[in-house]
Amino acid sequence: MGLKPLHPQQLYKRCPLTSLEFSTTTELNEHTNHFGQHRAAAALRFGIGIRKKGYNLFVTGIPGSGRHTMVHEFLNRQAPNETSPSDWIYVYNFDDMHKPVAIELPAGLGRKLRDDMKKLIEAVSVDIPAAFENENYKLRLEEIEDEIREQNEKDLQDLEKEAAAKNVTIIHTPAGLAIAPRKDGQVLGPDEFKRLPQDKRDLIQETVAELQDKLEKLVKRFVERKHLLRERIKQLNREVAEFAVAHLVDILKSQYATFPRVISYLEAVKHDLMDNAEVFHKKERPMTSLGLEREGQEISARYRINLVIDNHDTQGAPVIYEDHATYPNLVGRVEYRSQWGALVTDFDLIKAGALHKANGGYLILDAHKLLMQPYAWEGLKRILYAGEIRIESLAQVYGLVSTVSLQPAPIPLKVKVVLIGDPWLYHILSQLDPDFAELFKVMVDFEDRLAIDEDSKLQYAKLVGSIVREEELLVFDKTAVARVIEFSSRYVSDSERLSAHIRSLADLLREADFWAREKKHEVVTAEDVQCALDRQEERLSRLRDRLHEEIQRSTVLIDTKGKRIGQVNGLSIINLGNFSFGQPSRITSTARLGEGDVIDIEREAKLGGKIHSKGVLILASFLADKYSKRLPLSIAASLVFEQSYGMIEGDSASVAELCALLSALAEVPLKQSLAVTGSVNQKGEVQAIGGVNEKIEGFFDICKGRGLTGEQGVIIPAANVKNLMLRRDVVEACREETFRVWAVTNVDEVIEILSGIPAGAMDDQRNFPEGSFNGKVCSNLNELMIIRQRLAKEISSDSQTGVT
């Protein structure tokens, strides 16, 4: 007995001002945004440097640890030294309009080709009509038309002569040509025909039939000549168009002579222009046909260049951050426009996605956002495996539509993808997605904390200085920096560590700057930093204050003085996301004659989580092991968190539960002025728990609210001493010995503090000293066992004699 409480120095680790060799942050000129991330930095350098397939990066760490900033900084430093990627264009495919062709060009040349083609078409739009307005062309056209017409007229005249000789005539009707018998220069009427003798009628009919047959053959020749006329006009148009177009295209070809795919394309353009030259006759277009007006626009549109990736002003490799990683945003899309009530598209409506823009460089994505988008993750993997970008809509991928659409040629992909996500996401993907390990071989793991030493303190101070400069805050003096360092340890609940969480640090610095300015300070001091912390707590602590109020008002029953059998103050933590606080809970236990069951009422009511239940089972095993190794355990015990109506999880109250149970077994009262936190194993060793600072402060607040008596305090696991960074008022109270904190390693130490009597050590016969706490437990257990055995005998003999 006689375990001493912790010294105030053990409750809070100060950052000595002497360890900071500067006066203010103005002296800290070196810029750094990466505190303690050596592992991550090395992984980034490796991941960016290695140029093998599958070595994409997954950057993991807690949000706010500076992942994005560091990744951007690294890439923006590296990328300008790399080669600029090519331009890519899509052009019309004259062989298959549904499959636009992709052509690669050096950066800047895509734009030039696009502009050159625009000028070419503008020139052609003038030159072709001019060529067709040329008198020579009109003459040649007339020649061809006249020749055919004359042939037709001659044939018709010959037939007309033959018809006239046989007293029949050829009549032009809107339905075609007809043969009719003639009399006196006019068609023979039906009445007159009927009046003719039969042989004459037969002759007329024969003649008409004969000439009808010849007429039919004649008209067939007309139709054939019409086709011939069309072909000859087409050929004429081609010759004229070629004359107008060829030299313009040849000039362009000479400029792109070293690009065979461009040359092939220009050749195809030339032939297409020649084949469709008549579309450029503005004056020749019949005004009654909307379809032909549209045809003109469509044909001109063929010769446009869709500069889908334009790197003319890209310096080095591109670094692209896509913050809305939907499937179309990643792989690109084919857009549609509404035209005359239908949706139409063409190669000019192909739009680039983030992968296109990042091609030849780097693509940064948020992993969580990526996984939330339908098919985005699968699509990305497919593309990374294939090494090319194929633009398809989701409907096409899933085979939901079978309407005709574009199938743009795929573009080869060379990109390094950097995913940024939480650690749990990384682990889930690693375990459940076999593709992940193939494609994202480089893990960049950000620390959330690092050890305090002189160097790390200086680096942290420099980080503070960098943020102060970047955000144009008031200068921080060394007291302020020291306080910030202490905050950093408190943030990770570890006096031997500093937090690597940049966001919370930046928030504190901004808020301290604000409060300093409010007070018209010129320099931010420790007082301003403390003020910022206090105000933060004030903003977030409404719920805590209400709950503590209910305890003070005895709505929730918590004793902070006196002694009770089977009752202990346990401590729990309530986490509200960005604010956590502790509060005491009354844990009670009952014990009676039974068959060795320790009932966890929380579990029975389905309010106990698995870890909590495990803790209760462990203490039941401890009980049996320590006190009832060779004898049956004859108790029925129950444990409950009084006035708790929600889920309870975790085993950090298992020491308190065990003490309550032992108190009930030993019938020894325990001090209510103390609270206990800690996890116990089967050997009675007290293990570390989380949230130790909040738990101590939670009980302290309740005691302080009722007035500190000097008897109050908290018992914590010794393993948690290094986590202590308590509030100033708690440390002061401990210094004044109005409040105490004990650190324990085993249950006996806890029991001695709580009961005030020695726990008692087991001798070789497995006996505990009489009068000791353990002795009383054993004694009562034995008594219960004896009672149980006697009852069992009585029941047995009663059953044999038939007595009920």
Partner: protein, 260 residues
């Protein structure tokens, strides 16, 4: 609208068996510009009627070279469809214009020109094998008005007025055809001054022979929107009939005021 407030009566001669949109379009354009009354005349060609009643008549389609029976039933059906179309069209577009529609049987040109109490006659024979199709173009400037002028006559003045009305408002060019021996007269005035004052592009051509063949050639070559000829030029109906056979361009025959 032309200066004279005199109302016109325009007769439009439809070939009953052809679905001729162009003459209808031209007629509507004219009557809205000139104001007045429209009289439609569907003319069933006599010769075709006789042909249809013969028991062995067939036509050979020029587009496909297929032979089909041409009987009364088919002819009547074609005529009915054509008339119905013309009626519907007139009903749809003539909201504040008076119009009538009649049918006659006879020769196209003479049937039209014998109708009395009409001052303007619009005729057009659609293209056939021997009457080539002249395509209209997208811009009005490419289809000028062709005005045939002779010596002094009241109908010349009216023809000139009508031509001016059309070219100014429709922004068309005008090609004026005259016989090379036609003297300028004081009453007509200087043709050049007349049209240059209007700031309208115009051209004067003088022909050796003012006959249907020559006029038809010019009409086809310039792709005339409308051929306007006044009664002073025309000797008889045969001129008009012949001209109609040479070109598929619409022809507006302007009678003198005495004829109306």
């Amino acid at each position: 609208m032309i200066a004279s407030s005199k109302s016109h009566r325009l007769l439009v001669a439809f070939d009953a068996l052809s679905n001729d949109d162009e003459i209808l379009e031209t007629a509507l354009g004219l009557i809205y510009r000139l104001r007045g009354e429209l009289m439609g005349l569907c003319i069933e060609d006599n010769e075709l009627s006789k042909l249809a009643r013969l028991p062995f008549s067939h036509t050979v389609d020029l587009a496909s070279a297929t032979t089909k029976r041409f009987d009364e039933e088919r002819m009547a059906r074609l005529i009915r469809l054509s008339q119905k179309r013309i009626q519907e069209r007139l009903r749809d577009v003539t909201h504040d214009i008076r119009w009538t529609l009649k049918s006659v049987r006879g020769r196209y040109t003479s049937s039209a020109l014998t109708v009395e109490n009409v001052d303007l006659y619009l005729l057009r024979r659609p293209a056939t094998l021997t009457r080539p199709k002249t395509a209209k173009t997208a811009t009005a400037e490419a289809n000028p008005v062709l005005l045939l002028l002779g010596s002094v006559h009241a109908s010349s003045v009216r023809a000139i007025d009508i031509a001016k009305e059309i070219v100014v408002h429709e922004k068309r060019q005008i090609v004026i055809l005259q016989h090379e021996e036609t003297p300028p007269t004081a009453s007509v005035g200087n043709i050049e001054n007349l049209f240059s004052n209007l700031s309208v592009p115009f051209e004067i051509r003088q022909l050796d022979y003012m006959n249907p063949n020559a006029v038809g050639k010019v009409a086809n070559a310039v792709r005339a929107h409308l051929i306007i000829l006044s009664a002073d030029l025309v000797i008889d109906d045969i001129f008009i009939e012949d001209l109609c056979e040479r070109t598929d361009r619409p022809l507006l025959y302007v009678k003198s005021s005495k004829g109306y």
